[in-house]
Symmetry: C2
Subunit: 334 residues, 2 copies
Amino acid sequence: MGVTIYDVAKIAGVGLGTVSRVLNNSDHISPETRKKVLDAIEKLNYKPHAFARGLAKQKTNILSIIVPFFTGYFYIELLKGIQKPITKFEYDLVLYNVEKNNRLNSVLDKVLNGKLVDGVILISMSLSDEYAIEFNRQNLPIVLVDSYHPGVDSFFIENKKGAYIATKHLIDLGHKRVGMIDAQLKSTPAKIRLEGYKAALKDRGITFDSKYLVISDSDEKSDGFSREAGYSAMKRLLMLGEDRPTAVFISSDIQAVGAMKAIREEKLTIPDDIAIIGFDDIEFSEAIGLSTMRQPMFEMGEMAVDILLKRISGQISSLFHKKYIPELIIRETC
Amino acid sequence: MGVTIYDVAKIAGVGLGTVSRVLNNSDHISPETRKKVLDAIEKLNYKPHAFARGLAKQKTNILSIIVPFFTGYFYIELLKGIQKPITKFEYDLVLYNVEKNNRLNSVLDKVLNGKLVDGVILISMSLSDEYAIEFNRQNLPIVLVDSYHPGVDSFFIENKKGAYIATKHLIDLGHKRVGMIDAQLKSTPAKIRLEGYKAALKDRGITFDSKYLVISDSDEKSDGFSREAGYSAMKRLLMLGEDRPTAVFISSDIQAVGAMKAIREEKLTIPDDIAIIGFDDIEFSEAIGLSTMRQPMFEMGEMAVDILLKRISGQISSLFHKKYIPELIIRETC
DNA sequence: TATATATCTGGAAGGGCTTCCAATAAAATA
DNA sequence: TATTTTATTGGAAGCCCTTCCAGATATATA
């Protein structure tokens, strides 16, 4: 069934080492020999056996990417960014979806010891010190995206600054009662965005009032970054009646979508009764006019692969830490 | 660096064949021997080398999924559905993203000859007869999702019926001028949905009027299934002035989102001035109250993997063709 | 007790490739 | 022309497993 390098060698009338050499573009091959081999390959429609090659080379040309639940556009954009260079450099991409945090360890173990991949991209999840050490020890490159660890390459958003900018903008618009809808604080971005929110209040001389902070409920798959969670969080804020905030910074656009629905259900208008700024700039935000903090997802994905490939090929040695500052996109909700 | 089966054999004081047998749960292993081996594995933290195993077994435990540009939620939902059984059965998933149609062939070639994967899932793209034959000849299972070929397992939506139901509903609501915004007809679903639209008109005694049909522009990555394309298509429909349709069936929700924006910009109201029904029921449709035809994406993904795995293990032999009829979800736009 | 049968185990062969070493041929130099 | 040097080439060894065959041991049967 499968045509192997031996068949090619026989047809071309050369040794198998020679075939392998033209396959790998090694030098020291005479043009005539190369042509003979190429012709034979063409004739037999030969394609190298990926696993055999991987075994011999100790290199698989596969990268893995670990994402938490495919929740929305954030990851899609990232994936698009990641795909681009991967395809170009003839790598394959294996996808691990971690729905529950405890599964992360088993995926990391698999990736570490299975010798299936040449490198890994870990998205939006934090890496424990033990694993960071283990990756370094095994010399398996890993890069973090939307997460940070001092010991490995990381690309991350300045969440604190982003939240700060959004909150400050709301305050500077004249709002006195500026609330926040955040996700579960066990999510690092959520925790840090809260810090930014508080910092902005403080800088503007507003004391933090816990009744204006609502933490979205988590469900089995989202840590509170969901439409439903945003909806019910806003409902809770609206229960404050006349004392409700006149502006709300929301920790993700997807929650903001739910929150907007809740506001409309109360027959309140946006931004007149309540102004809103979200976070992420997912594709739908533009369609619904949602003001938000844009994260350069595509770019981060692209850069992450770039660094990962360089790391794999040993082209860089020093640690690479890059931070992105989210950009305020003003639309119609504030 | 890497601990191999030889190390385990040595530590356990057994032959390597024995180690392999306990790894693969073969029978004819005495409980004591098994324990010794298991202990050694534990002690060394041994994990089998995926590529070596794949080479020896001629089976990789990897499935590949080929998707056209990650455009939106349709594919996310599908991916979620696919992930579930894949994880459970310890397969890995490699993702190929086909942005341009001509790249499909090169991906298929790679998948066919590279021996990297045990099976493939092809989404929303049609398979040519030549490739269908080649897959069968090479005995590499492939299943189509949201697409159809008589020679391979297929899961598909009854697009014609779906479009028919949507259009008929609009007509039965009393609308006389029912338009359609479709995507490029080179996309099979788009072509077939148009047929359903026409069939409904005909059944209700309305003659098809080409000025009420607008084909969305395609951009480099979407065949017209995009927000921008829906927006400008609706703009064109609105240029008809008073003669414009009072109801429009739109071939995807994402286009409908753009179309709704166009309508609102003209200060027209939905559904009073123009009623709308989309197609897909993406996550945002509920948030914006869009009536639509729901496709069971998650379920299709799940079933596709199920069948694929059964096919790989030889548990089924006859061809599997399953069609899903989309369900009309009535919300606020009609 | 001798023999047949069932159970368990070791290890060679093989899966398809790369890489290295040695060998040969061709070209350059003395 | 004889001797180096250089450019090519063939093929064995090795990457890490699984599988099959044969041998060893234990158990059942005559």
